[in-house]
Subunit: 387 residues, 2 copies
């Protein structure tokens, strides 16, 4: 096991009554809050009104900026930074899914920084301080509500890059599973794929001594496999929605990655799909992850065998390791299909073949991942396998 | 799933290099720290010297109070409170296992309180503030390093009571698995039983919608079942020691109890054994937990069946639910025996029969637990089953 630090101070307020805490918790964001959200669904659902009312009841002054799109854009982040500076905002309350939260984190990092916030994403500068961020979560997927991560797309350069900083971990997150009742099946499934991918990016590691966290990863994957079909079938199944929402937070709050070397190749490979074609991140992952597995499994049989046995209950047969491992990968792909996700690039509706260019952008002149290091040629081959 | 708040801000520093952080982290305990520890093993092991050196290097001024015994005593707590007041201590650094940490928490709560610190334990007062506590952990067992709990024994009244307060959650905890190499097999096994009991007290719940946390509980139990025999066999197996140490923290940092109603009967029933006979807490749990299970399993077959199947890999046979459930309980008992623990009150060396009196103290004029509420007569019957 690798040495590690585990520090996740985000206060999670979970359940049907959790929204009562929006105002009181937002007092921790300082005297003036930027309410940051997406394209209006929170107005239709009434969440905007409840949030505004709770802020007012607690005496929290706020300004607002909506319009965050999936794969959140740098241009809106820059607008938010300017707005916060002009209005003297002291903190940001993101209401929405991962896109609203990631955009809020980018604004939070950018306000006290003199240069261009994109510097943080291209590794030109490190985040040294940030405004505090609070969250009212509506989509279980990105895990951004308790993570130090933010991913932003620069439309001008079609680059989509991530950034990690403990300064960007939200101070609180309100999670009411009822808010996810209205998520359409496709978006629900995309979220499930993202959550499972966050676990698998950690699960597939070369660190051999990760017995406990392996088992926790398997616990989370099995939970998603059981619960996701229930909410596709019945979107208002509170308990299944709650399992998924809580699993989504744990999948990406660092717990499952402690003591391990994480991988993240599939996320990086998918990011180019999203950046080039603006596909939903979870759908892209459902396409890329099985292809990545198919590309590398022969070199990593023991771990894929464990995945097949423990996550998919495929019995081990001596001498048939490869068949068992492949069966696990096939089951994953079949599961993604069964919840309505595409599992090939064609099914994403993409017919162009920019694989070499995308692979080049994904590896950024280096290699990807650690479980199996991937060159530009490897990444292009994975796009081809996913085709 | 029940509504919940999850807030665990303890910073965990884990691994071979973690002790370098003792001094720097202790700066967060204020200008003058009480170093609080047990009966001298940290002096023999060199940990005392390393801790003192790290504090000095970071410029942290400290005073000290050793002598904490297993089942930590109220009298030493009161001595510590007086010492902190006399010397103006601003925080406490506990070096040791659960006893040193629980004692440190009691002192931390007592210093700013005008009344008798025992008031908190008997429910006469609530903790409103406390000195900050840091931890250097040497025994994985109590989980006190990231929990809000402290258990203290009042020698004058032979009462052993627990207290929960978020004010008592340590601000940091240094966990170096190498420090556990010298734990004797019996103490190692007692710690394992305590860790497993912390999970089982949460696992056995009447809340039906706990799919994810059930699976995480099972992941932790399976980890303990696999790893404990390894460290009994080879006390210097770093990786197995690391799995157990990390599992011990997660078992009791609240993660596994969110969304559930916890039980805690077995702990309360065991506390009377420890209070009356000063037996090791983990050994007492190895005796009481299987007896509690035997007493109630017929009323709660589905959960005991799941326990048998998922934790002990006992195949389910239709129509043989009771046999399967009993087999799971038998396996647990057999496991405790296999790692050298007593599984009966006789094996604890106790030949007296104060069961009615102990049962009376355990229920404190009310009932115990929630999974199956236990009356005084039930508790006495469990002591008899454990005999």
């Amino acid at each position: 096991m690798q040495d590690f630090i585990y520090y996740v101070p985000t206060r999670i307020l979970f359940g049907r009554t959790s929204e009562e805490e929006i105002g009181p918790q937002s007092l921790r964001l300082g005297g003036k809050v930027l309410l940051h959200y997406g394209e209006g669904s929170i107005k239709q659902s009434g969440l905007y009104d409840r949030t505004a009312a709770s802020l007012k009841t607690s005496g929290v002054d706020f300004i607002e900026l909506g319009g965050v799109k999936p794969n959140p854009r740098l241009s809106l982040v820059q607008e938010g930074i300017q707005l916060c500076r002009d209005e003297g905002a002291s903190g940001i309350l993101a209401v929405g899914g991962g896109s609203a939260i990631d955009s809020a984190k980018a604004i939070a990092a950018g306000v006290p920084y003199e240069g261009d916030v994109w510097d943080f994403y291209i590794g030109k500068a490190q985040v040294k301080e940030a405004l505090p961020v609070g969250v009212v979560l509506t989509i279980p997927a990105a895990g951004s509500e308790a993570s130090p991560a933010t991913v932003i797309t620069n439309e001008a350069t079609t680059e989509k890059y991530g950034l990690l900083s403990d300064h960007l971990r939200p101070v609180f997150a309100v999670l009411n599973p009822e808010r996810t009742f209205t998520l359409p099946p496709y978006q629900t499934a995309c979220g499930a794929a993202d959550i499972m991918a966050h676990v698998m990016e950690r699960y597939f590691t070369n660190e051999p001594h990760v017995a406990f966290s392996d088992r926790m990863c398997e616990a989370l994957l099995k939970t998603m496999i059981e619960q996701t079909p229930r909410v596709i079938e019945n979107p208002e199944d509170y308990d299944a929605r709650a399992e998924i929402m809580w699993a989504g937070t744990i999948a990406h709050n660092d717990l499952l990655g402690r003591g391990r070397i994480e991988d993240w190749s599939s996320h990086d490979i998918e990011h180019e799909l999203s950046a080039f074609y603006d596909v939903a991140h979870g759908a892209g992952l459902a396409v890329i992850f099985p292809a990545w597995m198919q590309f590398i499994y022969q070199e990593k049989l023991p771990k894929f065998l464990q995945f097949a046995q423990r996550v998919w209950d495929i019995p081990y047969t001596a001498g048939e390791e490869e068949r068992c491992a492949l069966e696990g990968i096939r089951k994953l792909k079949e599961f993604f299909s069964s919840i309505g996700l595409p599992v090939t690039i064609r099914e994403l509706g993409i017919t162009e073949r920019n694989f070499a260019q995308m692979a080049g952008k994904a590896v950024r002149g280096s290699t990807l991942g650690s479980f199996r290091k991937l060159t530009k040629a490897d990444v292009a081959a994975i796009y081809e396998l996913a085709e």
